[in-house]
Amino acid sequence: MASDNQKIIRHAGIDRAFHWVMAAIMLVLLATSLLPMLGVRFAWYGVHWVSGLLLTVIIALHVLRALFWQKPRGIMIKPSDLKAGGAGKYTLAQKLMHQAWTVAVLVAIVTGLLLLRKAGVPFLERDPYVRSMASWGIITLLHDLAALLSVFLVLVHVYFAILPEKRAYLRAMTKGFISRSDLAREHDLNRVDRGE
């Protein structure tokens, strides 16, 4: 029988790398878009769209890895997650956080890629007339809302990451492993052992 101190690999190296790179790029995207609004003037636009393209690539790689190398159902919300202590690898709260980030990042990426045609980048002919101004306004609105949601999520996500009782998850995202005793607090170890 597995001991309580046994360490389980929770996140492989590549997944941790994805996480931290995505996090860094998200912070750069938020800083480049929001600091100028707060009066901090610098040449932000080039850094912003380049970071946006990098995030697109990283997210695409993450999705491919999740679909073909991992069990994507593991991140989807199930009825058993609603039971206290009934979680598999991810708790309900963690799944909700991932869902929220998925919405924010995918909306930001899709609208951001569309906006490149209007705002102008070196490799694409700038032609805002492919859409009406009203359409651009809606696309911009969705991009803005995704950014605002991201501001909210960064605060909440970082808060929960640094809470003492959640420190094991932060350790897992840096070093890769978590102990069974840490997991047992909120997870059903049987489900974890079954890879759910």
Binding site: R41, R126, W136
Partner: protein
């Protein structure tokens, strides 16, 4: 629709700088500062912009005139362009500025227009001036940089979502002369080098200069660094007078015999800010004015230029100006 009628606003006419600073501070963005009015009245009479209040600075005597400073000169921001052009100190030591000031617009406009106003004037992109909601106007779009946009007058350098250019003829001359701008507010004074006074769209897409609401440009200081150098100024425009530049070039060379010891080449109307041609400068510093090095400078000057649909002519034009300027500096400027 009726145009050319002045809309309603509160008019303040302070007679001292302190009063003007009080007003600028109190009114903030709602107080439109007017010097000679050669830019402001267009905006207001066309009804493209509105303002609650206008602060007319033209009565403030302490903002006018040219005086010697330690090693250089200081020009009050409200000195008219005609007075700058005709001032003996400016003509004797900084002929580049005198020539540039003399090529602004027309004599009538130079008689009323001021040096400060010429430096702070807004861009002349006709989409922006026409009142559309472009990026510079706080909107979400640039109409000039589109496949059909009429962008003959627009930027080939430094574009970042906005492709408008600086319309000021004196701006590139003062940048070449390493001038500094004295900005006052109720909180104090700051002195900003010309190279940092003008702002590109990458940093602030809605402003042309670093001046914030509540601040007033009071003077321009020119050090003695480039006094009596070999100067050249040329402005290319559709009309010989009363027109904004398609391109302008200010050159200052420090000569040691036949050798160029130091150089400043700054072009106007090629970017949103006076655009310093550092690669061209490097190509000629330490060299004589021989054809090979001049040619290298002419090619280097246009490195990185990105033409739009209708302004590609600016690239060979700039190269030609650089050739003419290096050869002609120290002689009669066009």
């Amino acid at each position: 629709m009726l145009r050319d009628m002045m809309p309603l606003f509160d008019l303040y006419q302070p007679d001292t700088l302190d009063n003007a600073l009080d007003l600028a501070d109190r009114l903030g963005p709602e107080g439109w500062l007017v010097a000679g009015g050669q830019d402001s009245w267009d905006w207001l009479k066309n009804r493209t912009r509105r303002t609650r209040a206008v602060v007319d600075l033209s009565g403030i005597a302490e903002l006018k005139g040219v005086r010697e400073t330690d090693g250089g000169i200081q020009i009050g921001a409200l000195t008219t362009l005609t007075d700058v052009q005709d001032d003996p100190l400016v003509r004797e030591r900084y002929g580049l500025l005198a020539t540039a000031a003399g090529r602004v617009a027309s004599p009538q406009i130079r008689n009323a227009g001021t040096l400060g106003g010429n430096l702070c004037q807004d861009t002349r992109c006709w989409y922006y001036r026409g009142g559309v909601d472009c990026y510079r106007a706080g909107g979400n779009m640039c109409y000039a940089d589109t496949p059909e946009g009429q962008n003959r007058e627009h930027a080939v350098f430094g574009a970042s979502r906005c492709v408008a250019v600086t319309p000021s003829d004196t701006a590139n001359a003062l940048t070449a002369l390493d001038a500094s701008m004295v900005i006052r507010s109720k909180g104090g004074e700051r002195v900003v080098p010309a190279a940092r006074f003008f702002v590109g769209p990458d940093v602030n897409i809605q402003r042309m200069t670093v001046i914030e609401p509540g601040e007033i440009l009071t003077a321009v200081r020119i050090p003695g660094t480039w006094a009596k150098s070999a100067f050249y100024f040329e402005k290319v425009a559709d009309r010989a007078a009363w027109d904004f530049a398609l391109l302008s070039l200010s050159v200052a060379l420090k000569m040691e015999g036949e050798t160029i010891r130091d150089a400043r080449l700054v072009c106007g109307a090629a970017a949103c800010v006076p655009w310093r041609l550092e690669a061209a400068e490097s190509a000629i510093i330490g060299k004589t004015r021989n054809d090979d090095d001049i040619e290298r400078a002419a090619v280097a000057a246009v490195e990185g230029a990105q033409p739009l649909n209708f302004n590609g002519f600016k690239i060979p034009l700039l190269s030609n100006l650089v050739r003419r300027a290096i050869k002609g500096a120290g002689g009669a400027s066009t």
